[in-house]
Symmetry: C2
Subunit: 790 residues, 2 copies
């Protein structure tokens, strides 16, 4: 299937590929440099050159080389393929190839394949009002913005999961290969099922240099690099050199070998029914070329080609300096544009003939077109029966697990839903899903292993980076999923969230990009339930981080109980182009709302819980007790209970917030309550004690423009943690029921006399707690066995 | 030197090591389970068992095994050694060994080496008021909290840099080995100079399982794992099995081989003067043992030993369930405690004799004792001459580079200062340091390479995780350094900052830990100077992240010019136990303050710039224009300039903030200005326009308790970015001079009529900007050439 061309065809094949490569390189250099005179039909003048030269040449010729050769494969063997370009700086290469293969025109018709379009292609690149210098949302055929470096391979594998027909060619730069996330992602083949997943062909581009340094892998010997990848389980295929004709030959042969081997593996798995003892030895191409290949060898006497100086703009002063401009012109002409483009600037038929019928730049997997809806079961079918607030206990994430299992069941045929997480699915009490689908696993198994098999749709690796990156790749190619992890370790992927939020913000503005499923993140085993693992596991800061993102993109939910969690999650799975963060605990807790009440509460986002307060007879509240998060809600209700028994004349209003963004002004966030609605909930003049799951600052930051915000006193996590009891965690941070009750008493004006006894009671309870845990090593029964008794 | 024992000594050596191992395992299990009856001198009763069982057994026997064998090495060959325990859950193991080797008693004398001390050791573990379940600051001999997993190896190499006598034994769990940061850190040998650095001996503990899953490396074949590490450049030594006697033999031999090979490499480099073409093949021990080795094989009929069920507490109900308790007792007695501890509970002489004279748990490298001061040059010697505000231009980070170069020069003998960063030293304009010391590099070099050599003290790898982790290891062992990176990518290490901040918070409370140099972070190539790289590179959120940490620990500085940057950095290098974050640009900018003024300004943290405003004649200001960050300061001053020429009767006060934390209340942060001082700066009743470097929310969050905070209107980064011109970046986020001037006009009450013309002028300027950049692709001269003309 992947035979080399017949002998009498070889030269013409090579000529076509080389022509494509030269054309793409010409178009890339043109984008970096030229405002005008795109075809060099006259000598280059200063005003032909852009005043600011922004772009990266170094990685470009390698990318165009790969693209040209992949076209040959696609033309001879039509197969769905996605091209993930790890070196994000390679924008000029990807745009040049998209212009050549026709994909650019399908997206932006005005950038036509002729002289006018070529000039537009050049001018708009890295130009105000144009397109950025990187591959990104604006790049046809791309699901990846490579600016930050590190996530290309995880994106590629995420795209390949459950896409059996798809092959993802993923170029990894040797700079990116030094990053941790990328280094971990090589292990992704331990989870890739050759039967039900697609293939990933990594192409490690060893061009030897980063911005100003050699790369580590670039300086290692061939033998070492091969040993490294063999150790990882790959079959390395080396393509190394700098002579174009020879390199075309080698690359042709390498790609034939690689694709034939991919087909062989898939045939073994799919037709021969072979079960592999270890992951099959998927091919990887190790492409060693000079950095800035075919560019200027030297500029001003300094080495450029095959050196880090080729990284960005090799000839810096082409507009001002005649010698530089002459060198640029010679460089451009070295690609022989007159042979590549006709009089009207159109690519010659040799080039257009190389473009495959479905070019890489128009993959339906890249723009959301391939998406299929998720068969979502009704969450109410899995709701807990809650006859009255606090009447039963339940584990929120366990209830969620049963509903997720039903999603897994319903998506067995479509295979468009996955759960990703770092070895914490069971710890987070989501294990019901494992009754429906195992964990994906291609490595060796033992007879006593549980829930491990190829094709499983729970994917667990102790790498938050991989889990989150796979989910991104999965949703970016039209599927649905959930990343569940310990709240405390979610900041590991802070920067990935940044990049995905940026992607979404830009992609939403591009009409040709279809919506993609939201990136859903469940934070469990949260700060208040890490008493056993200690301080290192206690950090609620991830929601602060996401709250910085564009309001259109982020949502943060803190459901107080199981039914609210189900309702919130169901909503999240029905949204598009967002990042939804849901915080929910796994410990047994009192349940507050039945399905109907949960539906109404989550729809409102925040509401008075009249059954929890005592303003029902029309009395105006003396104080508002707000709560957000499951543990703060529990403590707030217990505090209300205490206050009502010790100071029955104090009128308390309890407000629960499930959708954190309602606190923001509607001018800042689409979910923001109107000022009137906010004031109706919180009053404008009563003291407000706010029991919050996370860092108190976050609440202040959200409510600062509200009328009553000066009345708000927030309790939350103040970074006081260790290995201790669960109740001691809230005591240490003064978020416990007694401390909240004391705070309420202290906030009540004129109550000092009447409430002295109550205050004394609370203080004594805290003393009792302190002694009790030292004596017993566990929490006193009065807090663990407390029940809501209205 | 590392010969095996003489034949007639072998059995007694093995007996001693095995006894140590059994004793340590006994003590570890005791910590997890026992409240009382520490020596099992009577049958185990329910009340002897802790009510909550918190701790991790699975990794423990491997750690105690390694510790026992390292003791033998240390006893026979005294050498400074540090033990980095990657599996943070292995707290019981490390504490048991510290109790046995005497280090625990040096730190906590009450935990004596007898029955009383043993009971205290057991009781305080994972108990309220006691010590956490993890290795961490409280653990004698530890520089590492392994809770998050991923950073052990980077810490180990950071400790070894410039510590030529030190060997760091670093245990990496096969769970941790799946993380990205750890995977990248294997490459650290590319930077480790065998002549001037110490050695790291990684011990990869392949016990096969994580919480609920097998590990990837654990299931790979020996041949594959060896190929992987050979590819990385290591010399793997496999120690694999489950029979204790045979395993002791293998481990003895393996450590002898490993240490002999380390000595050989160091001898080659130090005595023979050999220059390596690639990094030498440092040894790595691949230790394959069962998880939970020597623990219960089965519990309730389910596999435990050599399976993931051994991860945490293998026998769950020992207090309530008689059968469980009997199994626990049998397990404890299997270590034969009566043979290991005498009647008073003291370890028998065989054990104490194995403890080396300088035990692992009292390393001076672990508690800050080994620290040496940094020879800090006077920053004023490198200050820029600034005859008048705005009179000259300068590049802040370039000036800093010259001062850093002087630090490098002065620390040539002490070798206690390093600069870490991801290939951005030159891009961030700090390249003057390279004139003094090259970049560390052990891989192959080419004749045309620049500034690459073994022993260089600039360390660059395209992994923020490694750079930051190395710096942590470096300062934790008593040295000094700086991590410089692009602001936009600093969030990659958000979670590492979390963990280091937690370490500092706890360590500061331990009297036996000496202060360590602050973790200094320079964020350059910041959001406003990433116009060329585009949206993915534009993110100022890292300072939001650090601002969440404990106030005692964090400082955030935004110096407005070069002299302030020098002054701030000089201060940071003189602080201890902190995380200092400094944001400074690299582009040529007007300079505002001479050295004296910078000194005064940075000392104050925030001040009125009287020369910039026009209240000098005693007029009260109509409006306050606050600015924080170099680009916002520039735009704010230009806006003032505009306002003064177009609305000369408006009185503007300009306040510049260099120390962000002064904005917080003094109750929230030690640097917080008193309310009086804050009000004196900002007034209580005037509108305040705040031009801020980062996300506007951060300012609101910091100032919400201040009197005049409702008057504050913040402009900052609102996530509007792309590849464009520098000035367009500020325009897009409405932080430019024209938008600021318009905002001031709009904030002035009653000025509408008089300022209509001024407003029109600004709006026209913005229109002109929009047209100009579309036409020219660069900023209009009136903004790039603007000068401050008071």
């Amino acid at each position: 299937m992947y035979r080399l061309p017949e002998p009498d065809r070889i030269d013409s094949e090579l000529d076509a590929i080389d022509a494509w490569w030269r054309a793409a390189n010409y178009l890339a250099v043109g984008q970096i440099y030229l405002l005008d005179n795109p075809l060099l039909r006259r000598p280059l003048l200063p005003q032909d050159i852009k005043p600011r030269l922004l772009g990266h040449w170094g990685t470009t010729p390698g990318l165009t080389f790969i693209h040209a050769h992949l076209n040959r494969i696609l033309r001879h063997n039509a197969r769905p393929m996605l091209f993930v370009c790890g070196p994000g700086h390679g924008g000029p290469a990807m745009l040049a190839c998209a212009w050549l293969d026709g994909g650019y025109q399908r997206t932006y018709p005005e950038v036509s394949r002729n002289a006018i379009g070529m000039q537009r292609l050049f001018r708009r690149f890295s130009f105000p009002g144009g397109v950025p210098s990187h591959t990104g949302p604006e790049t046809p055929g791309s699901i990846h913005e490579g600016g930050e470096l590190g996530y290309s391979l995880a994106h590629a594998f995420g795209a390949a999961f459950d896409n059996p027909e798809l092959t993802v060619a993923c170029v990894v730069g040797d700079g990116e290969a030094e990053t941790g996330p990328l280094a971990a992602a090589w292990h992704s083949i331990a989870f890739l099922d050759p039967e039900r997943d697609g293939a990933v062909l990594p192409i490690l581009h060893l061009n030897g240099y980063k911005i100003a340094n050699p790369t580590i892998l670039g300086r290692m010997s061939d033998a070492q690099v091969e040993s490294f990848f063999r150790g990882l389980g790959y079959r390395p295929i080396m393509v190394s050199g700098d002579q174009p004709r020879a390199m075309h030959w080698l690359m042709m042969a390498a790609l034939n070998t690689a694709f034939a081997h991919i087909d062989h593996i898939q045939h073994q798995a799919r037709a021969e029914g072979i079960r592999f003892a270890h992951p099959p030895d998927w091919p990887i191409i190790l492409l060693r070329t000079p950095k800035g290949w075919t560019g200027p060898r030297q500029v001003d006497g300094l080495r450029v080609e095959d050196f880090w100086r080729a990284h960005q703009v090799p000839i810096a002063n082409a507009r001002q300096d005649d010698a530089h401009r002459a060198q640029l012109e010679a460089w451009l002409r070295s690609y022989r544009p007159d042979e590549l483009f006709d009089a009207e600037g159109r690519p010659i038929p040799l080039l257009t003939a190389l473009a495959p019928p479905e070019p890489l730049s128009v993959s339906p997997h890249a723009d959301g077109r391939s998406g299929t809806p998720l068969p979502l079961p009704d969450w109410r079918d899995h709701a807990l029966a809650v006859p009255a607030p606090g009447a039963v206990r339940g584990e929120a994430t366990r209830a969620l697990g049963h509903w997720l299992a039903e999603i897994m069941r319903r998506s067995e045929a479509t295979r468009n839903f996955r759960l990703f997480g770092p070895d914490e699915t069971v710890s987070n009490r989501l294990e019901a899903v494992l009754d429906v689908t195992p964990r994906a696993w291609m490595e060796a198994t033992m007879p006593y292993d549980e829930h491990l098999a190829p094709g499983g749709r729970v994917v667990e690796m102790l790498s938050e980076h991989c889990c989150e990156g796979w989910l991104e790749g999965y949703v970016l190619t039209g599927r649905h999923g959930l990343f569940a992890c310990y709240e405390g370790f979610a900041p590991i992927v802070d920067s990935m969230i940044n990049q995905h939020a940026k992607w979404l913000k830009v992609a939403r503005g591009l009409p040709w990009r279809h919506p993609i499923a939201s990136l859903n993140i469940l934070l469990s085993s949260h700060v208040w339930q890490q008493d056993h693992n200690g301080f290192s596991h206690q950090d609620p800061g991830f929601i602060d981080h996401v709250a910085n993102k564009k309001a259109d993109v982020v949502r943060v939910y803190l459901p107080p109980d199981a039914n609210c969690l189900l309702r919130v999650m169901s909503h999240c799975f029905e949204t598009w182009d967002r990042i939804n963060v849901v915080v929910a605990g796994k410990a047994p807790m009192p349940q507050w709302l039945d399905a109907d009440a949960a539906e109404a509460h989550c729809r409102a986002g925040a509401a008075i819980w009249p059954w929890a307060g005592n303003e029902n007879d029309g009395r105006t509240p003396d104080i508002v007790l707000a709560c957000c998060g499951d543990v703060p809600t529990l403590e707030a209700l217990a505090a209300t209970d205490l206050l009502r028994s010790h100071c029955p004349d104090v009128v308390v209003r309890v407000v629960n917030i499930v959708d954190l963004m309602v606190l923001q002004s509607p001018r800042a966030h689409p979910h923001g309550l109107s000022d009137g609605a906010f004031d109706a909930l919180f009053t404008t003049d009563r003291p407000i004690l706010f029991a919050f799951h996370g860092y108190p600052h976050l609440i202040h930051r959200l409510v600062y423009p509200r009328t009553g915000h000066a009345n708000i006193h927030v309790r939350g996590y103040t970074e006081e943690g260790t290995t201790t009891t669960p109740f001691d965690m809230v005591v240490r941070n003064r978020l416990d029921r007694y401390s909240l009750a004391i705070a309420m008493i202290d906030l009540l004006p004129g109550h000092a006399g009447r409430t002295e006894a109550a205050r004394h009671h609370m203080t004594q309870a805290l003393d009792r707690h302190a002694r009790y845990i030292l004596d017993h090593g566990e929490d006193m029964p009065e807090v663990t066995e407390w029940r809501w008794c209205p």
